[in-house]
Structure formats: structure tokens, C-alpha cells
């Protein structure tokens, strides 16, 4: 079997704090496979390292398993009946795929933002409070502080501070998406997974969210799925290209963004990036 480990030839080398030269890795993924009910193989043999406090972009044509990949990283695959994950995923020292870990704790450490903004049908404040309740922040004052803090962090505070108790669903799409990001970072995650966070937004909102991602990079490890190659190139440090090959989603190219965009080794990836395929 041909291994797909690229760039970090031996994933275990890139352990946290091992070398000051090499960037620390927040997550290591080894030989990850995912089979949905009915035997459809969404992912096969995916291995990579996600560098800490950097943006890793995931690109590839539709249906190649990008969303599925993100869902493996925080075990949202558990919610899909009949799906089966193989391989190993480590978040620092935690074995993510282990059956004994507390997935709710994991999901607080690895947050996720969806393609379509999904604020709950509650007020803006309640959307964040509901998330906080999970971490047992019960003190009113503390809650209010965190709400303000995270809303400032996503640049939403000035826009909504007068209507915190208004319905979250009356916000614009871009504001909703930033609210979702605020909600996720209220839990102080280490890693944030973003599944095409800008694709349902207009160009202006999209740019605002993109700037936000770039700012968040200082404090969080980000994994961003995007169909916008220019965006991937602008914001990411590393880029992974997924491709459907032999009826399974595979990682065909992975490395520093500049290298992937200018000198991809895989011919399919190279032609995809130049807009000739996919």
C-alpha cells in the first residue's frame, strides 16, 4: 500500500515540543479512513499534521471528502449512523478516535463552523450563553464578560451591542457566521475547523470573515475548507489537496501553501490549482 504521508514523513516525529525548529503540531492524523453506511468509502489513508497556530487550508473538488475529514477530527461522525472511522487521530496526547474519551470535551477543544451559518433560534446572547453553560460558567457577570469579549474578538460587538437580546436569526449572513465563530471561541478551543465559512456569504461579508480568520490565527489553530483557491492562497500557511481516486477521498498533496501552489508534485493537484481540472 502506498502511503500518503507527505511533508511530515513520519507523523510521530512532529510531537509537541520536540523541536524548536519544526513547528509544533496540534493534531496528527495517521492513515485515517472513513466508510459510510452502504460501504461508500469517503476517506482512505489520509495522513497529515496540522501545525499549531497556523491556518491549514483544505481544497479539492466537490465530494472528495473535505467535510467528512473535518467531521472525523471532532468526532461529529459519531452522529452519522453506520459510519466507521479507522486510523489514528491525535490531539496533543489525546487519542481522538479512542472509544473511551469524552467526546463533549473533545468537541469543546476542537470547535467547528459550518458552511451555512447555524445560529440557534434564540437571542444573540443566549446563543453564546448556551455554549458557555457547557463549560459550567454559571456566574452572570462572568458570562456577560465572556459574551462581550468574544463578540469583540469577532468584531461584532459594536454592531450588536444594543440588541443582544434580539433574535440571532435577524442578523445578516456574515454577522451570523461571525456569531457562530464567537460562540465557538467562547469555549476556548485549541483547534477551529471551518467548513467553507465564506461560501454562503456575499463578497464583502466574506472578506470580513476572511480578515477575522487571519486574526484568529494568532490564538487558534485553524483548519479551513474552501473552494476559493485564491482565498486559500491568501490566508493559509499549509495547504492540503484532496482528490477522489479509486472511489475514495485521498490526500494527494500536502505542504506549505506557497510550495503547493507553485510547485505541486502531484500532477492532478497541480492542474487543479491552475484551474485546469476539478
Amino acid at each position: 500500500m502506498r502511503s500518503n504521508v507527505l511533508e511530515f514523513p513520519d507523523a510521530s516525529v512532529a510531537k509537541v515540543g520536540q523541536s524548536s525548529e519544526r513547528l509544533n503540531s496540534a493534531m496528527t492524523i495517521e492513515h485515517l479512513g472513513l466508510v459510510y453506511r452502504g460501504g461508500h468509502c469517503a476517506l482512505a489513508d489520509v495522513s497529515m499534521c496540522i501545525a499549531e497556530k497556523q491556518i491549514t487550508a483544505i481544497i479539492g473538488p466537490s465530494g472528495c471528502g473535505k467535510t467528512s475529514f473535518l467531521q472525523c477530527l471532532n468526532r461529529l461522525t459519531d452522529l452519522i449512523a453506520g459510519s466507521e472511522v479507522t486510523g489514528r487521530i491525535c490531539l496533543e496526547e489525546t487519542d481522538v478516535t479512542s472509544s473511551t474519551i469524552d467526546v463533549t470535551v473533545l468537541r469543546r477543544r476542537v470547535g467547528m463552523i459550518f458552511q451555512k451559518p447555524n445560529p440557534f433560534p434564540l437571542s444573540i446572547r443566549r446563543n453564546i450563553e448556551l455554549a458557555l453553560r457547557e463549560t459550567n460558567v454559571l456566574d452572570k457577570k462572568e458570562c456577560a464578560d465572556i459574551v462581550e469579549h468574544v463578540l469583540r474578538e469577532v468584531g461584532l460587538w459594536d454592531e450588536v451591542k444594543d440588541r443582544l437580546d434580539g433574535p440571532a436569526q435577524s442578523l445578516s449572513g456574515g454577522q451570523q457566521q461571525r456569531l457562530c465563530i464567537a460562540r465557538a471561541i467562547a469555549l476556548k478551543p485549541q483547534v477551529l475547523l471551518l467548513d467553507e465559512p465564506c461560501s454562503s456569504l456575499d463578497p464583502v461579508s466574506s472578506e470580513i470573515v476572511e480578515d477575522l480568520l487571519f486574526r484568529l490565527r494568532e490564538r487558534y489553530t485553524l483548519v479551513v475548507v474552501t473552494h476559493n483557491l485564491a482565498q486559500a492562497r491568501r490566508i493559509s500557511d499549509n495547504t492540503a489537496v484532496f482528490w477522489t481516486r479509486d472511489d475514495a477521498g485521498r490526500l494527494i498533496e500536502f505542504g506549505p501553501t506557497q510550495q503547493v501552489f507553485e510547485a505541486a508534485r502531484d500532477p492532478l493537484a497541480a492542474s487543479y490549482i491552475q484551474g485546469r481540472r476539478g
Binding site: L76, R107, R108, G111, F114, K116, E134, S170, L187
Partner: protein, 279 residues
């Protein structure tokens, strides 16, 4: 476009007029004959002379108690079952499908069969005798399928984004259910509840063998109590000269039924609509 008679149109109009006409005739008949009877005394006094005169006070109380028992038993069971079916089982295979099929069959069973079952199980086997408790529990068995269906539908139609979003925030299944699914499904629970209530209040056959005929004011749930529908049945069929009282009672029953149905449609329109536009 031809200006001639479109047979489809004529047919559908005829049907509509017949249905609406039948409904109006029925309502008109009941109200015409009964409305004059209904006053405060009628609503509060006890029936006299086997129901030929007097009021229906104890009967209203018994009916309410029967409904109370019915809803107290069926609501938690029904909502629990609906949550179980929608959140924890796959409706197409195995156990979930079995329950679903059974419910479909149950909701088609004639009420007299429920009455016989209730009589055999609650009255005789559990020793409750003719009592409000037995009647209410029998009705509960009858409305459960309706309640479960409506509620389950509500839970299934909660957008999966909420569930996924909640899970991604590290909310446990119980909390997602409590804070996200349940509030979103609540209007359907209410609608199911009201539908069940409507079915229960109109029921006669299931109550004849279970809660019985006694028209005195009940002093506990273990007393027999006569429901409105049974009072109508009895005064119009078994008591000569009781028709007028039957009509009066029918007015009360129909009025309650109409109010319940109006409430249901008001809730569906207002609440579900607001829910769906998400404001």
C-alpha cells in the same frame, strides 16, 4: 380558454357544498335545539329525574377529570416515546419500525375495542372497577398513537443544523434534546396534545365500559363518572323526554370541541409560522 362547464370544477364545488352544508346543518341543528337550554344553572346543577331536567354540573366535572387523567398519563408517555422514536431509533429498520407499525395499527382500532380492553384490563384485572381513573387511562391508550405521531413528526422536523451545531459545541445528547430539539418541537407537541384532547373529549364507546354511567358528582378518581358524550347518548337513547337535555349537552360538547380545534389551528398558524420564519 373555454367558458363551458368544467366537470372537474363542478364536481369539486358540489362536494365542497355538500360537506360544508352537512357541517352547517349539523351545527345549526344542535345549536337551534340546544342553545336555549344552556344557562348558568344548566352548567352547574345536578341532573334530576334521570336527566330529564336539571343540569349537567357533575357531568362536566367528571368529563374534566377523565380528560385530566387521560392527558396526565398520555402526555409524558407520548412525548417520551416520540423522543425515543425520533432521536434514538431509525424509523425504517428494526425496533423503530416495529413500534411505528404498531402505532399505525393502534390508531386505526375502533374505540369500542379500546373500551373492551380498558374494561378487561383496568376495571377488572387492575381492579379499578367503573371509575374515572379507568376511563381516563383507557382514553390515554386511545390518544397515545395520535400524540406520538404528531410529536415525533415535530422532533424529526427540527433542522439537523441545530443538532450538529449543538454537538459541535460539545453539548451532550441530553442537553441538545433539552435546549435545542425540545423548544423547536414544542409547537408540534402542543398540536398533538390538542388533537388528542379533541379525540378524547368526543369519545363515547371507550368510556361506556370503563368510566360508567353514574351521574352523581364524583368525590374521587375511583368513583364512576359520566362523560358529556355518554350523557348525550343516554338521555337521547334511554330516557324518553330527555332529548332537549341531550341537545343542551351537545351544545356544550360541540362548543368545547370547536374551541379546542380553533386553538389548535391558531397555534399551528401563529406559532409554527413564526418558528419557520425564525423570528
Amino acid at each position: 380558454m373555454s367558458k363551458g362547464w368544467d366537470p372537474g370544477l363542478v364536481l369539486s364545488w358540489t362536494v365542497a357544498v355538500i360537506v360544508a352544508g352537512a357541517f352547517c346543518w349539523l351545527l345549526g341543528d344542535v345549536f337551534w335545539n340546544g342553545l336555549g337550554r344552556v344557562n348558568w344553572q344548566f352548567l352547574t346543577e345536578a341532573p334530576r329525574d334521570a336527566g330529564r331536567s336539571g343540569g349537567i354540573g357533575p357531568i362536566i366535572v367528571s368529563t374534566m377529570l377523565i380528560l385530566l387523567v387521560c392527558m396526565a398519563a398520555s402526555l409524558p408517555l407520548g412525548v417520551g416515546a416520540a423522543i425515543y422514536l425520533s432521536e434514538f431509533t431509525d424509523s425504517e429498520v428494526g425496533f423503530g419500525r416495529m413500534i411505528r407499525r404498531s402505532l399505525e395499527v393502534l390508531s386505526g382500532v375502533p374505540s369500542i375495542v379500546f373500551g373492551l380492553f380498558g374494561s378487561a384490563f383496568f376495571c377488572i384485572y387492575l381492579g379499578l372497577g367503573f371509575s374515572i381513573l379507568a376511563g381516563g387511562l383507557t382514553l390515554a391508550c386511545m390518544v397515545l398513537p395520535i400524540l406520538i405521531r404528531a410529536t415525533e413528526e415535530g422532533f424529526r422536523s427540527v433542522p439537523s443544523e441545530y443538532r450538529l451545531g449543538g454537538a459541535a459545541l460539545g453539548m451532550s445528547r441530553t442537553r441538545r434534546l433539552l435546549y435545542l430539539s425540545f423548544p423547536a418541537a414544542l409547537p408540534s407537541v402542543v398540536v398533538g396534545f390538542v388533537l388528542g384532547l379533541g379525540r378524547a373529549i368526543a369519545e363515547t364507546a371507550a368510556l361506556i365500559f370503563t368510566s360508567g354511567y353514574v351521574d352523581r358528582m364524583p368525590s374521587s378518581l375511583f368513583d364512576s363518572g359520566r362523560a358529556l358524550s355518554i350523557h348525550i347518548f343516554d338521555t337521547s337513547m334511554n330516557v324518553s323526554g330527555g332529548e332537549a337535555q341531550a341537545y343542551g349537552t351537545a351544545v356544550v360538547l360541540v362548543f368545547t370541541l370547536l374551541s379546542i380545534n380553533l386553538a389548535a389551528s391558531w397555534i399551528t398558524d401563529r406559532w409554527l409560522y413564526r418558528e419557520s420564519i425564525g423570528s
